[in-house]
Symmetry: D2
Subunit: 171 residues, 4 copies
């Protein structure tokens, strides 16, 4: 069987999500499904829901890794629902489970996930033009140790293609 990469999308939650970020997240999710990857998200609203919808409507497997200890709050585009009961700590489970991460907008919560992915040396691509953390850190390192570069992509398609290359070690 071909390796199926697990790709995590992080970014704005429901409260702070812009329409631009939502549309971009949908496209990233769709691209992930088309490329045969499994989509991981935090399972709730905003970028998580938009990306899940994009993947779901394109036949992908979507995995919602939830903070609650039941699955009732998963967005409706969740094929697999994981009730971690870990509250915000579930972000680390997302990162540990991912082969690579794509950042779409985001605030302090997203920054935590990016920093965690950075410390775990995961492949990271930031989608320029999606706002917040994604724009702020695209093309940068998170601290002076320069552990992994946060790659910059200009479109959803480029973001997924770049990540696929990074995950397969072809960069």
């Amino acid at each position: 069987m071909r390796v199926q990469y697990q790709v995590l999308i992080v970014g704005y939650n429901e409260d702070s999500c812009t329409e631009v970020a939502r549309a971009l997240a949908y496209e990233v999710g769709a691209e992930i499904a088309r490329s045969g990857c499994i989509l991981l998200t935090g399972g709730l609203g905003g970028v998580m829901e938009a990306a899940s919808r994009g993947a779901y409507e394109n036949g992908g497997i979507t995995v919602s890794i939830l903070p609650q200890k039941n699955t009732s709050e998963a967005n409706p585009y969740s094929v697999v629902k994981i009730a971690t009961g870990l509250s915000h700590m579930r972000n680390m489970v997302n990162v540990w489970s991912a082969d690579g991460v794509i950042v779409v907008g985001g605030g302090a919560g997203t920054l935590i996930e990016v920093a965690a992915a950075y410390l775990e040396k995961k492949a990271i691509v930031s989608l320029a033009g999606s706002g917040g953390v994604a724009d702020e850190y695209a093309g940068k390192y998170l601290d002076e140790r320069r552990m992994v570069l946060i790659h910059k992509a200009s479109t959803p398609k480029e973001a997924v293609e770049t990540l696929l290359r990074l995950m397969s070690g072809r960069v």
Copy 2:
């Protein structure tokens, strides 16, 4: 879309698994896939691997919820791999994520999962003849509060059918 139940199988790990339990677990996994449910396991060997193989070879989605903080030790029949980094605590994530639980053999670790499922009032079916905890608790309550009965089934097919009825509230 039809509801896809998430069914957890628990039981002997690699070290203590009998051939009988392995064969029964394979059949339970196969039945779960045929019934259109998603299979959750702890993702490692023994009953976990046998059940995953049964579901995988029958076209099911298998979800391996691992104790490690990386996915490299998941058994080869894992479609989705969750790296919880929670060590034994990941058993609770399994239980919280499940709509119902089937028990195949098992020692003290399995007893923890059954007790957790009992406290969370999940539907539980124990497969008689599979040994260990499954045989010891089939048809019983775990404490004097009598929260949920651990139902007894005699075959893999009966175990899945009983669980489907319990999960849908038809019992």
Copy 3:
């Protein structure tokens, strides 16, 4: 500096605690403080609160390892309060942090903790006469692997003395 053992007391929660178990737990907590050990509990009511009160009123350090992600529900006899945000999974943190465990009564939740302590091969002493799990498993092994014996004690003083011997390897 002398080694300070960390001793975990597990047993009935507030809802199911008997007056007998409460009085015994208070005495066990008091003995732990007198012996210079640190008391660990789950930080809530029932046996947890009674033991904490016993230790607290005898000058001991009491550590409440809570399921919530804030410390507001800790019982009033908690010197140190740990907000794990882990819900029932915090039981494993209790066990991992403990050098030894004393069981006072208890239902299915306590059984989970005893099974976890057993799998981690911690020193375990069960207080006979306190009811529930403590009485059911005193003097027994939890499964056929016979990993560690659940020792039986007849009084709080004997329970602490036995545990001290077990923890120091003098048994």
Copy 4:
């Protein structure tokens, strides 16, 4: 009984800790003990160990909240040792357990803790002159939501005094 605040110190780990940060962390720990507060740290080296030593040598209660599932790697100035088994996720337990946070230097790991404290609206004081994250974020907000200010202090004494005022609501 007087309320004993629980104060978390975060910053450089053993690998990246400077001598300046180590000396400052020792003084912050000493001040915390003198003020009657309980010190929480991650229990390992660098800023964690220096702060614990400062508190320990001034009679304070030091609590080491460890990533491992055993207590053997706690630094020698740990009075209470919590084995969370949560790996990096234990940082959230630190934050949830704390009434306030003091930042001394730090890289991406520290940034995660500061962001978590920010999202939980904890009182935060950053020690200027200690390097890294502490200097970068002193006097700032972490994102456009401006949830809580990361206060700036110039000395260990000022850091603890400022935090005490913030925790008691006197700012």
